[in-house]
């Protein structure tokens, strides 16, 4: 098992953002994490990636207990992430942004530069290499974040709403990119998304959370038919009315 989360709880003051969530991801899977706004998806990501310390519960990566590790240590053992609200380095060029990712493993600038170029080629960003990210469209910036995360050579990649704000053709483009990198790199992907078309297309398995709790899990088509899931998204009336 690559990633295991056991009975994870995260409270902010009196607010319970994650209540007793358990889940497991196998090596090589693509798993979607869905749920309505405020369900606790990003909180769960932050707990796994070391941005929040869980109130209780455990996070295991390759069998190793990483609960409460700081974010940079989590990153160094092979967990990479992107952010819902993009976090790009605006004063560094696209290829420097990606080089920073490669610098997590090597101190050699030549190697870092070479690896950055390889990744930029993989995600089709070679032409933008020497520009500054704020000059580029949102879809391209999302790809830069993706490329930067890949440059750390992760085993496990968490994508927080990577398709949010993209138009249908850009969404299709990012799906193709993700499938390509999964094949080339043999990555395990864990993604949250609001765009249902996106998550249902790409995921092999989805986990549904609502108000901080896991309410369903399974292959996308089946989960989408479950009453509890429809209720969480559309309200009780729709679930019973079918």
């Amino acid at each position: 098992m690559l990633l295991e989360v056991h009975n994870l709880v995260k409270e902010f003051g009196g607010v319970v953002a994650n209540a007793d969530i358990s889940l497991q991801l196998e090596q090589g899977e693509i798993v979607g994490l869905i749920g309505p706004n405020g369900a606790g998806k990003t909180t769960l990501f932050n707990c796994i990636a070391g941005y929040y310390r869980p109130t209780s519960g455990k996070v295991l990566f390759e069998g190793r207990d990483i609960t409460g590790w700081p974010a940079h240590r989590v990153a160094r053992i092979g967990i990479a992430r992107t952010f819902q609200s993009m976090k790009i380095m605006p004063n560094l060029t696209v290829d420097e942004n990606v080089m920073i990712g490669a610098f997590s493993r090597t101190g050699d600038r030549k190697i870092a530069k070479q690896e950055a170029q390889d990744i930029l080629r993989l995600v089709d960003l070679v032409q933008e290499a020497n520009t500054y990210p704020p000059e580029l469209p949102i879809a391209t910036q999302k790809k830069i974040e993706l490329a930067r995360a890949l440059a750390t050579k992760p085993k496990f990649l968490m994508l927080d709403e990577v398709a949010a704000g993209l138009n249908p053709s850009e969404t299709k483009d990012i799906i193709q990119t993700l499938q390509l990198i999964k094949e080339v790199r043999g990555l395990t992907l864990f993604l949250t998304e609001h765009v249902m078309e996106f998550i249902m297309t790409i995921s092999e398995r989805v986990i549904v959370i609502a108000v901080g709790r896991k309410i369903a899990e399974g292959i996308p088509e089946e989960v989408a038919r479950e009453d509890k899931v429809i209720e969480a998204y559309l309200g009780e009336r729709y679930a019973k009315g079918r």
Binding site: G50, P70, K87, M89, N91, I100, F103, S104
Partner: protein
């Protein structure tokens, strides 16, 4: 090893125009004592090089690191006092006093860095300012540092390379040598892994952490290096003025002037500190002398502050930011 050497001396990533401008700058500085005989002009030139040196060091934490440190004067003081006290009490040659000053500044910075970097932005700036002021007061009250009276260095009768005492031409090349050494170090640093990671931390701490960068660790390392570089300039001040006291080497004004030089010139750029010092120092010394000569005290400070305010409000990337924008348009 050869790659490190190449990184130190290579400016290949900078445009040709910048490289030419820098060569012209070096030629002017080297030729300066041969063409200009005026004592005051020579003093202005030496002060310019000294503040360019200070700016280069501060640019690490303040420019590449984006942390507004308003306490660099404490490190200048550590360097100055290490040199002064060692020369006075133990007759240590000047060159052997530089490293102890740097080491003390580094150790002190390491000790205060962790609590300080729990703060961000303005709060961090205020903390650095307070620490520097506390040190200044300590040096005023301590007997063994000479207190408020300061330390006087015994004057040598003939030019002397052990204690680095000679005429203004000697000091000119001496400070230029220190400046060039620090400049080449910065040229290496900006291309190093730490340099890139520091810029990543400046631009976005969360993103930096997600790429395996220890955010606090990176800031602490840089803060310590900045301190060591500040101490070098302090050692020079002792050799140059032959007299130091806390008001001369550790005042708040000095911390602010060092930060201002970099901000006016262009923080986070290799040329920024040089441009900033080239504008602020002559302006300060000539404007001050000219206006005070006419009995109009204080007006120079107003003009000075006005220029700084304009640049801070209109161009956060300083004069170098303006240059880059114009080049991009052209």
């Amino acid at each position: 090893m050869s790659r490190i050497l190449r990184d130190i001396f290579s400016f290949g990533d900078r445009p040709l125009s910048e490289r030419i401008a820098f060569v012209i700058f070096i030629v002017i500085v080297l030729a300066f004592p041969w063409t200009v005989k005026l004592a005051y002009a020579r003093a202005v030139m030496i002060k310019f090089l000294l503040f360019a040196l200070f700016g280069l060091g501060w640019n690490l934490i303040g420019g590449y690191g984006g942390q507004v440190d308003l306490g660099q004067a404490k490190n200048v003081g550590f360097g100055a006092y290490a040199t002064a006290l060692m020369m006075l009490h133990w007759h240590t040659p000047f060159w052997l006093t530089i490293i102890p000053g740097m080491l003390f500044a580094t150790a002190e910075s390491f000790a205060v860095a962790y609590p300080m970097f729990r703060l961000r932005g303005h709060y961090f700036a205020i903390a650095t300012l307070c620490v520097a002021l506390v040190w200044k007061e300590l040096f005023v009250f301590w007997e063994w540092t000479g207190g408020a009276r300061g330390v006087e260095i015994p004057i040598q009768t003939a030019p002397n390379f052990t204690y680095m005492q000679f005429g203004s031409v000697g000091y000119h090349y001496f400070i230029f040598g220190l400046f060039m050494a620090e400049f080449l170090f910065m040229n290496w640093f900006r291309k190093s892994r730490l340099g890139f990671q520091l810029q990543a931390v400046r631009d976005n701490e969360d993103a930096a952490a997600s790429l395996g960068i220890n955010v606090t660790g990176t800031k602490v390392k840089t803060y310590c290096i900045t301190a060591a570089l500040g101490a070098v300039g302090g050692s020079f001040i002792t050799a140059y003025y032959l007299y130091i006291d806390p008001e001369l080497v550790m005042p708040l004004d000095l911390s602010i002037l060092i930060a201002m030089t970099v901000m006016v010139g262009g923080a986070g750029s290799i040329w920024g500190p040089i441009i900033g010092a080239a504008i602020l120092i002559p302006l300060d010394m000539y404007l001050g002398a000219w206006l005070a000569g006419g009995g109009r005290y204080g007006i120079d400070f107003m003009i000075y502050a006005f220029i700084i305010m304009i640049i801070a409000a209109r161009e956060p990337k300083g004069i170098w930011g303006i240059v880059e924008r114009v080049k991009k348009r052209g």
